[in-house]
């Protein structure tokens, strides 16, 4: 692409200079002929650039599509942007601010949202950029290949300290990453989600066996949910987020719109913890949906059982 651009730049500059010198005015009463238009020439210099641009279009689009679909085995990291910092959470529970530690050679999938205005997660060295938009999740993914320290920027203007909303991505060898994870033991995100599930008394209605007034959440994530009034939706992160913050938006077929909104009661970070908890219910079918920590031993202090 650069080559094509340089070629045309040189072509145009060259032609302009060459003609400008060769056909410079030698006397004031020259009157060159002209007025003839070569249709063939017009067609040629329309069609050839069009063909070239279509190649660029296809090339760029195929890269973009590949970049848009994260591999299934990608490691999930949640990002919440706010004026003016990046808050990141690992599934294992580690929380970071303006720093992100990742293992190399492993696809990393970011699920991102913002607490306030639009931000944009930009790591120039990974050729990764994705706007982080309040009120919805956006995702992106990348794989780091070399250990090192890389710039993390906010690329969408977000107010006074926009240029201070920067940080570092530390790409580490897998063993170093494991060591880093072990260095600060903490409950997993799903554990925290379980605790939140309890605190918010979600289990009062969402029973594991589906006997409650609200649908069971076991096996929900990734399933297709039939909606009241027809239609269906895939239960992904965005659907679960919406159902927590704006429950009437999509009512599950066969249930009443009883659930109150949790807007203002739970933070964006809390929502992603709840999502991780709901995801963890898939991995352990049969687990009682009582707020019991999904990973045994990690949820000390939480109150099991219904409230």
């Amino acid at each position: 692409m650069l080559a094509v651009s340089i070629f045309f730049t040189v072509l145009i500059f060259g032609a302009v200079f060459y003609f400008a010198i060769k056909y410079r005015r030698r006397s004031d009463d020259e009157l060159p002929g002209g007025g003839h238009t070569g249709l063939a020439l017009e067609v040629v210099w329309s069609v050839i650039p069009f063909g070239l641009t279509m190649i660029m279009f296809g090339w760029g689009a195929s890269i973009f599509f590949k970049e848009s679909v994260p591999p299934d085995d990608a490691m999930n990291i949640y990002v919440v942007g706010k004026q003016w910092m990046w808050k990141l959470q690992h599934q294992e529970g580690q929380r970071e601010i303006n720093e992100l530690h990742i293992p190399i050679n492993r696809p990393i999938r970011l699920t991102m949202t913002s607490e306030d205005v639009i931000h944009s997660f930009y790591v120039p060295d990974f050729r990764t950029k994705q706007d982080v938009v309040p009120g919805r999740y956006t995702t992106t993914w990348f794989t780091a290949t070399k250990p090192g320290k890389y710039h993390l920027f906010c690329a969408e203007y977000c107010g006074t300290k926009h240029s201070g909303m920067i940080g570092w991505v530390y790409a580490m060898r897998p063993e170093d990453y494991q060591e880093w994870l072990a260095g600060s033991p903490t409950g997993s995100m799903a554990d925290r989600g379980a605790r939140l599930f309890d605190d918010l008394a979600c289990a009062n209605c969402h029973h594991a066996d589906g006997s409650g007034r609200c649908p069971t959440l076991v096996g929900l994530f990734g399933s297709t949910v039939r909606l009241a009034g027809g239609g269906a939706v895939k239960a992904d992160e965005a659907y679960i987020r919406e159902s927590i913050l704006n429950p009437p938006a999509k009512i599950v077929a066969g249930y009443q719109p009883l659930m109150p909104t949790f807007q203002g009661l739970v933070t964006e970070e809390g929502v992603v913890e709840l999502i991780e908890y709901i995801k963890s219910l898939n991995a352990k079918p049969g687990l009682e949906q009582t707020g019991q920590p999904a990973v045994p031993g990690a949820g000390a202090g939480s109150q099991p059982g219904n409230q």
């Binding site: 145009i12 302009v16 238009t37 009120g135």
Partner: protein, 540 residues
């Protein structure tokens, strides 16, 4: 006026005197002069902001201004330059002055509305300047929501109102041009005998009429959300922030063509005159203006590739963005072909036109980079984009504007400018421009995000180069200001056709009389028919 002493005949300049005769004038030429003065002032203000930005960026740390001030500087630089300089620039000045003359009309179709347009721009400008003096605005010229509606604590409302009002100035000017071209062509001035400058303005006017109302609606919605808290764009109120970006760019991308199409029209005139040849492929150049105007409305989504817009939307917008590059490329090829076997002279306007062709080519070709879905992910919102659009808008529009001002200066004022200084200014502007903006392509490719007040130190070298270039560029812009004003009094008297150019504007005296033509001309020749130009080239 100085010219009155030299020329005894009545011209539009000496027909009447006094401030009132100017502020209440219905003469398109006088209104054009009012616009000249107005937009020159706005350019000076916007340029001062740019200078302060470049000065601050000399070092990676914050030293000259605070972050708040820096953010206000780049916002106000954008607002002033886009809405109060570039949008009105060529159409409101050169277009206003020459479009009626070029088609053999005595004025625009609606002279009073023309004057109203100028007052609307002034009113809009006063509101915008009030916002700046009162404390400034820091949303970026793009007003992205929900920052602009729910978070910014600056003068968003006054600024948005100013742009809203100035928008009507743009709509009315477009309307005036369209009606004039349809209804007021002289006998024999068929559509395909019109100078390409007129075609370019016709295409521009269509965009102004169809696009600007959408901007007005968008700004009103901003005001509704900000003052009445009606949820439109802020998700906390139930709105959609991406909706704003769609609405904003639906106008603001075509607005790029409002800025550059008239420039292309100017270049067509200049290249033809100084090659003494008809523009190669007249019909292709004319229709490429219309093609750009139409397809330009369908590419706005290329500003949203990484916004969270759907993949398939991105695909369509990328395709159309490549498509719209073709008519621009066709123009460049045709201008270059016009030079072939021409009789080329290196007068100042031609030097500016060469500069335009070079810089617009670079601006256009880097557009192919940002139109690519995959590549844009990396370079969007970086200095690469800054460099790209400055090459198009400053390298393109302002080079064309300065070229056009020099080209028609003798016609407008009856005086010649000092040729040597003028050629020097064209060269200084070209060098200064490239030194300012070329390093920014590299900065952007290296990952330097835009709108950063402080930045990591590894980017400093290129920033220093860019600031040095901006200094040279400033000198290049100040030079014409000085010698053009000087020439008003001391410049040699210009004949009616100092360049041996075609076009009806060169068939009437310089400066033109108030009613342009004593008798409405009958057009017998195609555009750019140099065999029909009387050969007496010197003082007439």
């Amino acid at each position: 006026m100085a010219t009155a002493a030299v020329l005894e005949r009545e011209t539009y300049l000496n027909a009447s005197y006094g401030l009132k005769s100017w502020l209440l004038t219905k003469d398109h030429k006088r209104i054009a002069i009012l616009y000249f003065i107005t937009i020159s002032i706005f350019f000076a203000i916007g340029g001062t902001f740019a200078g302060l930005i470049r000065l601050e960026l000399l070092t990676p740390q914050a030293d000259l201004v605070s972050s708040e001030t820096y953010n206000k500087l780049f916002t106000m630089h954008g607002v002033i330059m886009v809405f109060f300089f570039l949008i009105p620039s060529i159409p409101a000045t050169l277009g206003n002055f020459f479009l009626p003359i070029m088609i053999g009309a005595r004025d625009l179709a609606f002279p009073r509305i023309n004057l109203l347009s100028w007052y609307l721009l002034i009113l809009g400008g006063v509101l915008a300047i009030y916002a700046m003096v009162a404390g400034g605005v820091d949303t970026g010229w793009t007003f992205y929501t929900p920052y602009s509606t729910s978070y910014a604590n600056t003068y968003v409302i006054a600024t948005a109102l100013g742009i809203f009002v100035a928008g009507f100035s743009s709509i009315l000017t477009g309307l005036n041009f369209v009606v004039t071209v349809h209804r007021m062509r002289a006998p024999g001035m068929t559509w395909f005998r019109m100078p390409l400058f007129v075609w370019a303005h016709y295409a521009t006017s269509l965009i102004q009429i169809l696009g600007t109302p959408v901007l007005a609606v968008t700004l009103v919605l901003i005001l509704c959300e900000r003052t009445l808290h009606i949820g439109i764009f802020d998700p906390a109120l139930g709105g959609d922030p991406i909706l704003f970006q769609h609405m904003f760019w639906f106008y603001s991308h075509p607005a790029v063509y409002i800025m550059v199409l008239p420039g292309m029209g100017v270049i067509s005139e200049i290249v033809s005159t100084y090659s003494r040849k008809p523009v190669y492929g007249y019909a292709f150049v004319a229709f490429s203006s219309l093609a750009i105007a139409v397809v330009g409305f369908l590419v706005w989504g290329h500003h949203l590739y990484v916004s969270g817009q759907s993949l398939y939307a991105g695909l369509v917008f990328s395709f159309l963005s490549y498509f719209v590059a073709i008519p621009s490329a066709v123009k460049v090829f045709n201008w270059t072909a016009t030079l072939y076997k021409g009789s080329i002279s290196y007068d100042t306007p031609m030097l500016y036109a060469f500069g335009f062709i070079g810089l617009f080519t670079v601006g256009g070709l880097t557009g192919l980079f940002v139109a690519s879905l995959g590549l844009d992910v990396h370079v969007t919102d970086t200095y690469f984009v800054i460099a790209h659009f400055h090459y198009v808008m400053v390298g393109g529009t302002i080079m064309a504007y300065l070229g056009g001002v020099h080209y028609w200066w003798p016609k407008m004022t009856g005086r010649m400018y000092p040729e040597h200084f003028a050629r020097l200014s064209a060269v200084v502007v070209f060098i200064g421009f490239n030194l300012t903006f070329f390093p920014q392509f590299i900065l952007g490719y290296q990952g330097m995000p835009r709108r950063y007040h402080v930045y990591p130190p590894e980017y400093q070298v290129l920033h220093v180069l860019s600031t040095a270039g901006a200094t040279v560029l400033a000198v290049g812009y100040i030079m014409p200001l000085i010698y053009l004003i000087w020439s008003l009094k001391y410049g040699p008297v210009a004949g009616k056709n100092p360049w041996g150019a075609t076009g009806l504007e060169w068939s009437i005296p310089s400066p033109p009389p108030t009613h342009n033509f004593d008798r409405i001309p009958v057009v017998m020749h195609e555009a750019y028919d140099y065999s029909a130009v009387p050969r007496e080239v010197e003082v007439g």
